[in-house]
């Protein structure tokens, strides 16, 4: 029936070693000790390959694992309260209907061994799967027909995905099951969505999903992620990447004025920052493309994914703003040439997920006011603006008369100047001056 080998549900087998569970006997913390599997975390990642030293990691983990056990017990209670049978050892496949309470629980972290099922459930994966029975198997059957360029690109990245994870390491000359699954998922997705094909960074997303769910579900998650969270981000021209960076820059201006003013001060941001994304703005490319994998420590990424899959695309921006918010005290006093390094290295130090999630979701914090509607309006604006400018530029930017340029500017302001859209956010202050100047010039033209 299917070409793919049957493998045990990944989550089941991987988490046999460790669960967020109270110690069997009070006082003996046997469970917690099992986390150190020859210097690896519970997902099989080498701790030494992470961004902090082992000692710091252990100190943090000792605290955090207690938190996880508490949260797990609360989840069990929540499930029972909602009429679901669950205990510490069960692997539920269904979860309570969406509610403020459930959202709070998700933001505080889904139990690790439930994650695969919960992500899939919250993303409405089961519906997609049942409507498309056999689709993945059919793709698997013809996956070798994928074009040479994509096949080669996928092959190159298979072993460059999680070389520091034991499940992605080949042993005694035999290819690991995970590598095989990753290859099939990426090939099938490339066949399924030729607009994207294979794009580097999909390997990371698929790879991390595979740690928590089987490959068919991973495939559907990729489909859903591109509809829900990362629209156009991995397409051939990566236009979605630039759009996301543009939206993020606008968010900086609105929600992190201090960071924004430092960026401006360093003159890395020009007036046309939405069209020509500045270098500083592009440093966050991989945050979006790989959904924070490799940017932040593993447990922090997983907590973010809990929120991303339960909520909507605003979460990506809230989290990005949150990282910058935590970084701001350092950001404002770092010399320009070291800012790139800071943006790259700082996120790796956010070992405790709660530090970041508090900034993103605590009511008192302005970032928590960022709403989905704002993001959508903002995104639409950036898309339109870029499309318009790029078209004109394509014909020949130098032939653009002052009148045309003036029109472009004014339309930009009109579209964007609506009072309820990102309140307080206006086109930059130098713009009025420029419009006046252009107006005078265009009158001369006539």
């Amino acid at each position: 029936m299917s070409d793919r080998p049957v493998s045990a549900s990944n989550a089941e087998s991987l988490f046999q070693l460790y669960r967020d569970k109270s110690p069997e006997k009070p006082g003996i913390e046997s469970k917690r000790k099992t986390v150190d599997l020859n210097g690896r975390d519970r997902y099989g990642f080498k701790i030494s390959a992470s961004f902090v030293d082992q000692e710091k990691y252990n100190t943090w983990w000792d605290q955090y694992s207690r938190y996880l056990i508490r949260r797990k017990l609360k989840w069990v209670k929540l499930m029972n309260k909602n009429g679901f049978e669950a205990d510490e050892d069960s692997m539920p496949t269904k979860f309570p209907t969406r509610s403020e309470e459930l959202k709070r629980y998700v933001r505080k972290g889904i139990p690790a061994e439930w994650r695969g099922n919960a992500w899939f459930y919250f993303c409405k994966g089961p519906e997609r799967l049942s409507k498309n029975k056999g689709l993945y198997d059919n793709l698997c059957a013809k996956m070798d027909t994928l074009d040479e360029v994509n096949l080669e690109a996928i092959e190159k990245d298979l072993h460059r995905t999680f070389p520091d994870n034991i499940h992605f390491n080949d042993y005694s000359g035999e290819e690991s099951l995970m590598i095989g699954s990753l290859r099939r998922v990426l090939r099938c997705y490339a066949l399924y969505n030729p607009e994207i094909g294979y794009c580097q960074s999909l390997n990371f997303i698929a790879g991390q999903l595979l740690i928590f769910m089987d490959e068919e579900k991973t495939f559907w998650m990729l489909v859903i992620i591109h509809e829900k969270l990362l629209v156009d981000v991995h397409t051939m021209n990566l236009e979605g990447v630039s759009v996301h960076q543009g939206v993020l820059l606008l968010c900086f201006r609105q929600y992190l004025p201090l960071t924004w003013s430092v960026m401006r001060e360093h003159d890395t941001i020009n007036d046309d920052f939405l069209v020509n994304i500045p270098s500083l703005g592009i440093c966050t490319t991989s945050w979006f493309m790989s959904l924070f994998i490799g940017i932040l420590p593993v447990e922090t990424v997983l907590r973010i994914w809990d929120c991303l899959f339960y909520e909507d695309s605003k979460s990506i921006f809230r989290i990005s703003l949150g990282i910058f918010k935590l970084m701001e005290p350092q950001f404002v006093k770092t010399p320009e040439d070291e800012l790139y390094h800071l943006i790259q290295s700082f996120p790796r130090t956010i070992l405790n997920p709660n530090d970041l999630l508090d900034v993103c979701y605590r009511k008192l914090n302005s970032i928590s006011h960022l709403k989905q509607q704002e993001i959508q309006l903002c995104k639409q604006y950036v898309i339109n603006y870029r499309a318009k400018y790029k078209n004109l530029k394509h014909e020949d930017n130098n032939l653009l008369s002052n009148q045309e340029r003036l029109k472009l500017l004014q339309e930009g302001i009109q579209e964007f100047g609506k009072p309820r859209v990102l309140k307080g956010l206006r086109w930059n202050s130098r713009l009025n001056k420029q419009i006046r100047k252009l107006r005078v010039e265009s009158e001369h033209d006539i």
Partner: protein, 205 residues
């Protein structure tokens, strides 16, 4: 303005996916090699302090993603570059064939003012492999360098740390020369010509 500032040399490393850009950079900056580098997404940065002719400089290396589609983000990455390192894998014909298009793409995207004088370096990496796996010989590579305007050529092994310092010494020197020539010419060469910037408009009379 820049005499007060410390000298920062921005160097872009380009080439096909998997030719060893990350490895070269890691070997040069951190003196280490691993078989286990992850694929680079977007760009990674590393810096290293160097002394060139008694002058302290900071070399800022930009390691980029090798997949072709990432070139559409090139403008943002290449802006203000002082030198461009083109890398291919001596065991991979295709990566060699693509060197020319990487160079052209860079020149277009970075909006380089004087393409003839802009410093490029060619690196053929992975010379540690057995001779029979090698697809591009030294002579062929030298011919390409001549064709590209006599750019310097180095054959390296990031794995065994062969020729790395020599290559990057030339990179740094040429980048410094480029940086100084720009200062001297008092040109503010921001790559982008801004449609919103009133000053740059040549009033179409």
């Amino acid at each position: 303005m820049s005499s007060k500032k410390k000298t920062i040399l921005k160097v872009i490393i380009l080439g096909d996916s998997g030719v060893g850009k990350t490895s070269l950079m890691q070997q040069f900056v951190n003196r280490k090699f691993s078989q286990q580098y992850k694929a680079t997404i977007g760009a990674d940065f590393l810096t290293k302090e160097l002394v060139i002719d008694n002058k302290n400089v900071t070399i800022q290396l930009w390691d980029t993603a090798g997949q072709e589609r990432f070139q559409s983000l090139g403008v943002a990455f290449y802006r203000g570059a002082d030198c461009c390192v083109l890398v291919y894998d001596v065991t991979n014909n295709k990566s060699y064939d693509n060197v020319v298009s990487w160079k052209d793409e860079f020149l277009v995207q970075a909006n380089i003012k004087n393409p003839e004088t802009f410093p490029f370096i060619l690196i053929g990496n992975k010379i540690d492999v057995e001779e029979n796996k090698r697809q591009i010989n030294n002579k062929k590579a030298q011919q390409l360098c001549a064709q590209l305007g006599n750019i310097p050529y180095f054959e390296t092994s990031a794995k065994e740390a062969v020729n790395i310092d020599q290559a990057f010494d030339v990179v740094a020197r040429n980048a410094l020369q480029q940086e100084e020539s720009l200062d001297f010419g008092d040109d503010y060469t921001d790559a982008i010509n801004i449609h919103l910037d009133g000053e740059s408009s040549t009033c179409g009379c």
